[in-house]
Symmetry: C2
Subunit: 145 residues, 2 copies
Amino acid sequence: MGVFSRTCEYAMRAVFFIAHRTPEGTRVGIKDISEGIDSPAHFLAKILQDLSRRGIIHSAKGPNGGFYMTEEDLSRPLSDVVEAIDGVQIFKGCALGLKQCSEKNPCPLHHEFKAIRNDLTKLINGTSIKSFNEDLLNGMTSLKK
Amino acid sequence: MGVFSRTCEYAMRAVFFIAHRTPEGTRVGIKDISEGIDSPAHFLAKILQDLSRRGIIHSAKGPNGGFYMTEEDLSRPLSDVVEAIDGVQIFKGCALGLKQCSEKNPCPLHHEFKAIRNDLTKLINGTSIKSFNEDLLNGMTSLKK
DNA sequence: ACAATTAAAGAGTTTTATATCTTTAATAAA
DNA sequence: TTTATTAAAGATATAAAACTCTTTAATTGT
Ligand code: SF4
Ligand code: SF4
């Protein structure tokens, strides 16, 4: 596995996809999303239900229903998605899996690892979904496989 | 989970522990190691068997047997351990789990993420087990929980 | 040769992550 | 009010990771 769990990868891709596809109060269905980001539809449904319950994205049932994101949703940092799925371990946890981190008595990887962890936190926490989305709209980036 | 799998965390801790405990041709048994790094003994045995088969550490059966590391073993980068257990995904894989990485058409996280991934690679690949071990011997770092 | 010690190997079990399928509830439009 | 459409929820199923227990093989010292 990479840095994030597969579930979390799907979640992030889906969030970018929804953000990209629902600019003006429109909605996008689970089928479109799962095809657009290449993930199993039913599994992704579970993930989006979870994000929706947490208020990270929004959804509406019925005809013309689907998933969408409000301006407030878009202004959230990507870390909200990651923490909802994978928790904070990736931002706070130890490289060697030790329970207590001591600055006084650190494990061999401590100093460099901490810097890397901080950079990751800064990237994921310090940038809004919207700003990633703007890159997508500018055609600079892509979610296609 | 943190950056590495739990199995990989055990492997790294065990390697540092063995390096620390077998300075002059001595050996250390699975029991001592598993207690020293707080991991399940039989499970760790499997992991060390694997590392031993790959020549990353060495072992000897019988009385006064156990695990040990040669000078050559110690000079290896920690990335050998990580790659043996978790593979190269962590160093090469995409944040969003996309299959093909395109510099031309990158995913939204690409640029910053790549930098972080490179830093991690540099840390794990660019430093020998011995040098971590020297920190341990100097009492600067610890594996105790 | 024999007994003791140690890792290696084999064969599970348990837990967690990932994935699928079915049924229900909400909404909208006719 | 009925039908179509959509997400939510529930119930499993499958696969992978983590862990345990038992047996075997190698080595040492007596
Ligand atoms: S010493 Fe550093 S790497 Fe180790 S657990 Fe603490 S913060 Fe994490
Ligand atoms: S675009 Fe960047 S983050 Fe995305 S898969 Fe490629 S290298 Fe990884």
